[in-house]
Symmetry: C2
Subunit: 225 residues, 2 copies
């Protein structure tokens, strides 16, 4: 029983810090996205496509959350964007204080979009605000089309869902349309994109969503100033 008030203090402190980060990033006109997914759903691959296709339009920086290794940060740097690695040392999610601690390592004056790749975990990251403008959940089709029903929190708190690995549909029992329908049952407000980060199919519609979010963020910044 003793754990509950302490956890509540921790999450309240996280929420306050996340709000401060959101204000700081908004003042700089930076769009911040928090990507959440199971291990191996394709978060890093989606970020690689986003960096390469938006090169010349927007300057992207990435914060990579992992239990250990800097494999993903190395992939991001190879794709052409600055990346900072956070190793949680086994911790199952990122927290706002971890983002605050690494922000100084990025040249924020030269960033239009900050993408945070959370630890691969469809459960725990859901409850932790990192100061983002939007959570994006990546759902891999091979995981099955029933996952929104079984892991509703990730879909309930996100603003967009990316269904990845649709090129595998002919070889799977799972169906893209059933996954779309199950996502809509949990959260009918979600913007949903079906993509293959292997072939590039569907990626352009996702990029248009990112472009619209950047424009909206800048418009809000101009109204505020």
């Amino acid at each position: 029983m003793g754990r509950i008030p302490i956890m509540s203090d921790v999450t309240s402190a996280n929420a306050a810090l996340a709000d401060a980060l959101r204000r700081e990033l908004a003042e700089r006109g930076i769009l911040t996205l928090n990507l959440i997914a199971s291990p191996g759903a394709g978060k890093t691959a989606l970020i690689e496509w986003t960096i390469k296709r938006l090169a010349g339009e927007y300057r992207i920086a990435v914060i990579e959350g992992d239990l250990t290794t800097r494999l993903d940060a190395d992939r991001i740097i190879a794709a052409g964007a600055p990346a900072v690695q956070i190793n949680t040392g086994g911790g199952c999610h990122l927290e706002a204080r971890m983002i605050r601690d690494v922000l100084a390592q990025l040249s924020l004056d030269e960033v239009d979009i900050l993408i945070i790749e959370n630890v691969g975990n469809l459960v725990c990251p859901t409850g932790w605000d990192l100061g983002e403008d939007a959570k994006v959940v990546v759902a891999s089709l091979p995981e099955g089309d029933d996952k929104p029903l079984k892991y509703p929190g990730a879909f309930d708190t996100a603003q967009a869902a990316v269904i990845n690995k649709i090129d595998l549909e002919p070889y799977l029992p799972a169906r893209v349309e059933r996954l779309r329908a199950n996502i809509a049952r949990i959260n009918p407000e979600l913007d949903v994109f079906a993509v293959s980060c292997t072939t590039g199919a569907g990626v352009e519609a996702w990029l248009d969503w990112v472009r619209q979010r950047v424009q909206r963020k800048r418009a809000q910044g101009n109204e505020a100033s």
Copy 2:
């Protein structure tokens, strides 16, 4: 800082309760397996194969851990085994007290093998002993062959690893042999099985491992009595 000693109390209490459960299950000669994997890796499908192929040899009961829904328990009952559902209400892992609370719902005198399907999460369940004889990690090939390096805890604490969805290898960048090599880098002691729960390929070798573990458990029980 205040959270650390309290978490330590919680995990110590869990370990003591898990040891008591292990003794109780050992006295009954029941082999207990704790299945850990990402969402959609195929834990339930592997249990379905195990129930159907071992029917007539061993009596299997299943405890299903999920955030919500009883979709998996219904699949297990349809496969022919008794199942108890634990809904964690958003909690990211099972704990020994949850197992204790539902054990009375199973007729343990009629059980040879108890399979616990943990919440779909490759991170948090790793640290929680449920009184099992062995943890089994299920790794889905579409998740990528680098996952043992990025999520070492699950592989480090398991006694067996099942590589699932090998039928998809021709359509994936991931390779079964690279996944085997990466598992061996983290834990060279693991028994590793490559299977397809769609086609049934490789399942027989997994079942032989289960048979051997049941026989070993009974031999230990006979020595003790």
